[in-house]
Symmetry: C2
Subunit: 596 residues, 2 copies
């Protein structure tokens, strides 16, 4: 049993539920077919299993060290990333015209998920490099693209995202990094960036930092932010790497998880000129960042699903092999102990993990497919529908797995008991790793504000209506055997509509948003319930007669039932808080927390 | 602001809500009064703050090392425990006739909570020593007590609990450690014990292991288990410490949290005779252990509350001093940033922590007071009522804080954002430390089985009826201002009764217990809601006119409202699963988890 992927589930979700083979009919993805994708999955699984997975524990125990101004990772990291680059995986997602393979995003997410599950922090270097290259590709000049993209796509240069500063995390309008025109078209960058993953590593030939900074004439607030390419080593017109660009590693953050990738504090331009190159137009930096945010946020969600999956697979395997105790009705202490998966509570904890992990996976793949479809859809109405749906679902795709696949990791530890609490087993590492996901790339709270403060309200609620319509279609098409689930989902939609309307009618913006995070969780539960119903409907139609397949399809239907019985009912209490515009939180004055 | 205790809340919970001063009227506790207890609290707070707290981070980063067969802790651990012993705190809870101070258990829990919040792993040595000494005191012979208790009460010898083995954690009937009579009244102990906290440390003069083992003629199962005193160094008749007793440190477990106290694998009698002394009668060991279990399990719950409290206090302080962002209605980016406690979502996360931590504290103190009252109550009917209530509440006292104060720790990290994810701040440590509590001393699942499989059913549900009666009395006595809360609690009790009756009527014991863990959580929520109503009623009656007190009482009422609005409604969906004897979990066959 693989510890990093359930290939049968990938097959089911990608082809049987989502029908991603329809993408291959488009010109953009015509060079792909299922066979080719399977081959790439095979290669990825082998590399992830043989090269990424074996040192994940060791990497966690040996975080990068600060040596001579560099974040030094253990040598296995470079070896794994070199192997990844040599196999051409860095190129997978990029367009063919810039040297990429133009693989559909949804297939790419599935493929890279194996690396993420095998060794999340190492895959982090890839994710950041891809994100930076995507942004350059979308907004950079032809010269910039020609200089920086090829080595990034080949995996020789890595990328970072330099947004946050110590005093400006969620509040980007308060960044202080400055860009001063040099007179030659370039800029001198000065300032300090915090939480920069992958910064000043000792692995790659050069690092391309994508830096948010303010021009000296910028207006205050987010409108004054511009985006710059700031390489670690300067690059001449022919693409040759030259002298150091005065980016100094000021410190490493020591984290509870994700310990394999350095997280850095970087000083720009303190020791000498740090030259940056403006991307696109001045003062448009945040817009560019937001343009790329959808994919980045979906990628975070997928990372959270993969941590959840790794814990699920490990604890499922463990539960089948660890003997302990007997059935409650068995009073014979001399009978052999049974595998703990026989205990109802262990089975509950495994089923809960399956429901969260495969439900979260369905959410991520659904969003990824929207990204692909948006690239090939020509009908403008349909494009607008897809765009709205993706905008609405993005905060959920980022947040729901970050919250509920973390809970899955908590259960994986519980299945292993005391052993799960030790470093001898990886489940506590997954729990520590996954705890980052509700924090970075827009915290859980920020996503709630995005959803309730912006997304459900935009265009008079048009995006929200598109989502409701999609869910209603699934309800309408599901057979009578799903009568209970259909009714439950219908009821939940009713409660969601009532709550949403009440929130949007509230003119006090603080009060409207007081419980936005809980609204986000409840919306996520409804969306995931909907996607579970889709999976159950597909599985129910499939009765194959092959035992293993029958078991798979039966499992899908039971996990869906679990989600509808155990999880979906939770949303009603939450939505009632939103609908009544509960002020409990607002009314709590600061001195009342402690008093006395 | 203290980072380890809210003294005002202690005052409120102990005196204003529980009225523990009534204990001082009894002969047993006559030497105590509030003034003396305050003085002891002052001394404890100073010692915990000045000696325990300062090295908690350092200790986490430097777990005990395996050196020459000993678990070597950093020297600060011994210094702190020596100071604790010198101040006489080890003696606090023991009876006066054996050299103790005979302090009420409830006051002792509050006092020791400060050490636990300041440095949980170091306090762990105390907790284990106290538990072992209590067991000896209850079941040991006079000679055993005379030999072993004085040095334990003085804090010179420590204790451990040796129950689990690698193949027998939750399933104690499967232990393999054996005791062979030596012919001189003592026994040779042979076997291996796993998960032994505090084993073979380098701190104390001797270690008194309380070991479960089977006599050679024992019957199979839990009825064949006996309890032995097995000292690290043999003790002669005068109490002098002599030669090594052949207990060998076979390994250290490296844990995700609670890293300051060694957790060990111990071999008994492999290198030579390991002499053990039978406690009480043969084959009664498990009964003795269970007799002590109530206090031990309450102590675990209190430890979980203290981890939660430490995270709450830290994140509350941080939120008042960390500026970030502006109110959503403020569009001026040049206005100063506000402390994050001004943001509704941060306030929600703090209020949620307060509700869990102070609610959990109320639960623990309520149980502790029952322990004290049982020691002084003379009316046998009343004693029986208290006994039943304590039996019923114990699995909840152990589990509810372990689950929900861990969630509080998760929120404390979230309040700090990226900083909370680093070792520079203690909140991630509290989260790692607290993750142990749902695992040890009877896992969360085991507690659920204890509650639904045993406690609510015992004596035809008499204990359950006593609890319902207590809750109904609170509902009856609360004023009309609490009409909503009274109704909500009444409704919850109705659902609880229905669910409990349905479960008890189910003759398939596996099916009855299939969702026992969720039943445990729901029961806990109802109990904590009841205790919050008690706090709110008390606070509402207190309007003092002193601003700080008014704020304190207002905060109590709002936290109660929070619990009733945000938490209690969750129980209905859960209790419905129990009432309908949901089989989803039972019906999931092993091959269906993965399939394919």
């Amino acid at each position: 049993m693989s510890m990093i992927v359930n290939r049968r589930d990938l097959e089911f979700q990608l082809y049987e539920v989502l029908g991603i083979d329809s993408l291959f009919k488009s010109t953009r993805y015509a060079s792909f077919d299922r066979e080719l994708i399977d081959e790439m999955f095979n290669a990825a699984e082998t590399l992830a299993e043989e090269v990424f997975l074996p040192f994940a524990d060791q990497l966690d125990a040996n975080e990068p060290r600060f040596e001579n101004g560099t974040a030094v990772c253990i040598p296995e990291v470079k070896a794994a990333l070199d192997a990844y680059a040599e196999s051409g995986f860095f190129a997978a997602g990029f367009d063919a015209d810039i040297g990429g393979l133009q693989m559909p995003y949804v297939a790419q997410a599935a493929m890279n998920g194996m690396f993420s599950a095998a060794n999340g922090p190492v895959y982090g270097f890839v994710m950041l490099t891809t994100a930076a290259a995507n942004m350059l590709n979308a907004f950079g000049s032809d010269e910039q693209k020609a200089l920086y993209l090829p080595p990034m796509i080949e995996g020789r240069w890595f990328g970072t995202m330099c947004l946050s500063e110590t005093q400006a995390g969620s509040s980007l309008s308060d960044i202080r990094t400055r860009a001063q025109p040099r007179g030659d078209g370039a800029y001198n960058i000065t300032g300090t960036k915090m939480w920069i993953s992958g910064g000043e590593n000792n692995i790659c030939e050069n690092i391309v930092h994508m830096v948010l900074a303010k021009l000296t004439d910028a207006s205050p607030g987010v409108k004054g932010i511009s985006l710059f390419i700031v390489p670690k080593l300067r690059v001449d017109e022919s693409g040759n790497v030259g002298e150091h660009n005065h980016i100094v590693l000021a410190g490493l953050n020591h984290k509870m998880g994700q310990r394999g990738i350095p997280n850095t504090l970087l000083n720009f331009g303190e020791s000498g000129d740090c030259i940056g190159h403006l991307v696109g137009k001045p003062h448009e930096g945040l817009r560019y960042m937001f343009h790329m945010m959808n994919e980045a946020r979906i990628a975070i969600g997928q990372g959270a699903v993969m941590s959840g999956l790794a814990g699920y697979l490990f604890s499922l395997d463990y539960a089948q092999h660890r003997p302990q105790g007997r059935h409650p009705q068995n009073k014979n202490p001399e009978s052999p102990q049974i595998p703990i998966i026989e205990h109802a509570d262990v089975r509950r904890m495994l089923l809960a993990q399956k429901a969260s992990v495969e439900g979260g996976q369905a959410l991520i793949f659904y969003c990824c497919l929207l990204v692909d479809q948006l690239k090939i859809e020509t009908d403008s109405n349909e494009r607008q529908r897809m765009h709205l749906l993706l905008e609405l679902l993005t905060p959920i795709a980022k947040s729901w797995p970050s919250e509920f696949c973390l809970e899955a990791n908590k259960l994986a530890i519980q299945v292993l008991g005391g052993y799960g609490y030790t470093h001898d087993y990886p489940v506590e590492r997954f729990y520590r790793d996954n705890r980052l996901n509700p924090i970075h790339e827009g915290s859980h709270g920020i996503q709630g504000i995005d959803l309730l403060g912006r997304k459900v309200a935009m265009l008079n609620g048009e995006a929200f209506d598109v989502l409701l319509e999609e869910i209603r279609q699934t309800i309408a098409s599901a057979g009578d055997e799903f009568a209970k689930e259909k009714q439950a989902l219908q009821d939940a939609l009713g409660a969601l509509k009532t709550a949403t309307a009440a929130a949007l009618a509230c003119t006090d913006i603080s009060q409207r948003l007081a419980n936005a995070t809980l609204y986000l969780d409840a919306c996520g539960h409804i969306v995931v319930a909907w996607l579970w119903l889709r999976q159950a409907v597909t599985a129910s139609a499939k009765g194959s007669g092959i035992a293993a397949d029958d078991a798979f399809y039966a499992g899908k239907q039971k996990a869906a039932r679990y989600f509808f019985r155990y999880e979906l009912p939770k949303v009603f209490a939450t939505l009632d808080l939103i609908a009544t515009l509960d002020r409990t939180v607002m009314d709590m004055a600061v001195p009342e927390f402690i008093g006395g």
